[in-house]
């Protein structure tokens, strides 16, 4: 078991906040570019593709970090339904941060486009050319982007609920302040330390 179970490991926290910024930015970039005919469409798309692939790589690294550093357990007094919602939404976020770039890459492959990440960097096709597959994947890319944004909203709302209303240490387990105050004998800390996280359990 990990030595410190009240906070996420530093690499996990760094990755969480870096990817939070990147993923939210990607959603704005995507929505902005498909609703524009100006030069914004071209330059946003030029950022969108390499940044999306970078998110795919970071997500894989992040899951590896998570596997090496199991996350702290949720507060023991959290109602079971809320725990379930937390776990399910975290897995959904992981699934979407892997699926979105893969779908973007696959849909361009299916559309017969060269998958260019810059002037000369080209990724190989990961799907055979097919108009039907292109159409399905392109719609999926849009719908799952909407689902990702809604899940992000719920996640951010929940984080603020923990931080402002429950004040149970969940928010600080990710924002890093917990590390500085962990020596204080806090009831919630005690509750969290007795939690029962399994290494593979998404907290």
């Amino acid at each position: 078991m990990n030595t410190n179970t009240t906070t996420f490991a530093l690499p996990a926290r760094v990755l969480h906040w870096l990817m939070a910024v990147l993923i939210v930015a990607m959603l704005f970039i995507g929505v902005g570019m498909v609703s524009s005919v100006s030069e914004r469409h071209a330059w946003l798309l030029a950022i969108h593709k390499p940044l999306g692939i970078a998110i795919l790589v970071l997500a894989v690294v992040r899951l590896a970090v998570r596997w090496r550093n199991p996350p702290p357990p949720l507060p023991a007094d959290l109602p079971a339904l809320q725990k379930l919602a937390a776990h399910a939404s975290h897995w959904l976020l992981y699934a979407l941060m892997l699926a979105m770039p893969l779908i973007g890459w696959a849909m361009l492959s299916a559309g017969g486009y060269p998958v260019m990440l810059g002037d000369s960097l080209r990724l190989p096709a990961i799907f055979p050319a097919s108009p039907v597959a292109f159409a399905v994947l392109r719609h999926l890319h849009g719908w799952l982007a909407a689902l990702l944004y809604l899940t992000f909203l719920a996640h951010m709302g929940a984080a603020l609920y923990h931080g402002l209303i429950r004040r149970d240490g969940v928010l600080s387990s990710m924002d890093g302040r917990r590390a500085a105050t962990a020596i204080l004998p806090e009831t919630v800390d005690a509750a969290r330390e007795t939690g029962d996280a399994e290494p593979g359990d998404p907290a």
Partner: protein
């Protein structure tokens, strides 16, 4: 920093809930703002493509513009002359395979070939390194307008009046009066005649691009292809025949491949790169970059060009977009047209069915 480890007292809880709700509302508003929900006047790719459908009808599975056409295949033999200006592999001496498409502008796939005096040629070059160059060219020397907003206004002015089934002449006159930049195109259109063959036409890229050479130096260019064939088969366009272009092309290709020369014109200081309504002076240097050879043709509903989006911003290393505002608008609108027609091919729920107008044409 000391922080309370116990839940908040009731009094400030309400304030916290309000804060959370405000943050979430702000996040929803922000994405809506970027997506243009609060800016209904913003021109979007969807609005452009909707307007094509409004003008001609909705024909499922077909391109929303340049709907009538045929696929062709062949290759480009580069002679290496353009290599000094562009590092793109396609300009190194050698052969690059090409999938192309001849077409008529307009959104009706059943339009008679003589209904417009313009033909188009789109090409997709697939380089050995996997990068592609896609270009769409029209058989005219200038584009009527310089911006997507003006193009949208033109499409709106051309929308048939339900009473007459024809565009309202007053609206067209008002559009041209408000857009003096259309003068060069209108002067050209006065003398233009529908050609009897795709093979005898010159096709112009119209938009400017940058070639980037091996040293990273950029050169503003435009390109066009000029045919080796000059003799149009005069009885091809027999009265009453509405589909003579595809037949003429097939007949010619049965005898021999067709050839065009790819000419790249180099701009000089001060030549506009952002205005497709203006030609560059005649004395600008043109390089003959090689020969486009078209060997075969297939119908567009089964040929290899069907599922290609000739997006002019699919470019290899060595060619870059210019500041021409038509280019990103084309890229965005073609993507939307492509999504609509591939969704229709996939029979996805909610995709367009043939509307009444289209059924009338298809009869």
């Amino acid at each position: 920093m000391q922080k309370p480890a116990v839940p908040q007292p009731h009094s400030s809880r309400a304030a916290s809930w309000v804060l959370i709700a405000a943050v979430l509302a702000l996040a929803v508003a922000a994405i809506g703002c970027v997506g243009g929900w609060l800016a209904p006047h913003r021109l979007t790719p969807q609005k452009l493509v909707d307007q094509f459908q409004r003008n001609a009808g909705t024909f499922p599975g077909y391109r929303r513009n340049h709907a009538k056409g045929v696929c062709v295949e062949g290759y480009f033999d580069s002679n290496g002359n353009a290599q000094a200006y562009s590092a793109a592999q396609v300009f190194a001496p050698g052969r690059t395979p090409v999938v192309g498409r001849f077409a008529l502008p307009g959104s009706n796939p059943y339009a008679p070939d003589s209904s417009v005096p313009i033909r188009s040629l789109a090409l997709r070059f697939t380089q050995a390194n996997g990068q592609q160059w896609r270009t769409g060219m029209n058989s005219m020397t200038v584009f009527p307008v310089a911006t997507p907003q003006a193009f949208f206004a033109q499409l709106q002015a051309q929308q048939p009046d339900p009473a007459t089934g024809k565009p309202d002449p007053a609206k067209l006159a008002a559009f041209f009066a408000a857009h003096p930049e259309t003068a060069a195109f209108r002067a050209w259109a006065k003398t233009a005649k529908p050609s009897a063959s795709y093979a005898t036409e010159r096709y112009d890229g119209l938009n400017a691009f940058f070639f980037v050479d091996a040293h990273g130096q950029r050169h503003a260019v435009r390109w066009h292809v000029v045919p080796e064939a000059t003799k149009a088969d005069s009885d091809a366009a027999r009265a009453g025949d509405t589909d003579y272009l595809a037949a003429d092309l097939a007949r010619r290709l049965q005898q021999a491949p067709l050839r065009w020369h790819l000419l790249v014109t180099l701009a000089e200081a001060g030549d506009p790169t952002n205005d497709a309504t203006k030609t560059w002076p005649d004395d600008r240097r043109s390089i003959d970059a090689g020969t486009l050879v078209i060997e075969s043709t297939t119908p567009q509903d089964s040929g290899p060009c069907r599922d290609v989006n000739y997006d002019p911003l699919v470019l290899p290393d060595g060619i870059e977009a210019s500041d021409d505002p038509l280019l990103p608008a084309r890229s965005a609108a073609y993507a939307d047209s492509y999504l609509r027609r591939t969704s229709e091919e996939a029979h996805l729920p909610g995709t367009a069915a043939m509307d009444a107008k289209a059924r009338g044409e298809a009869r």
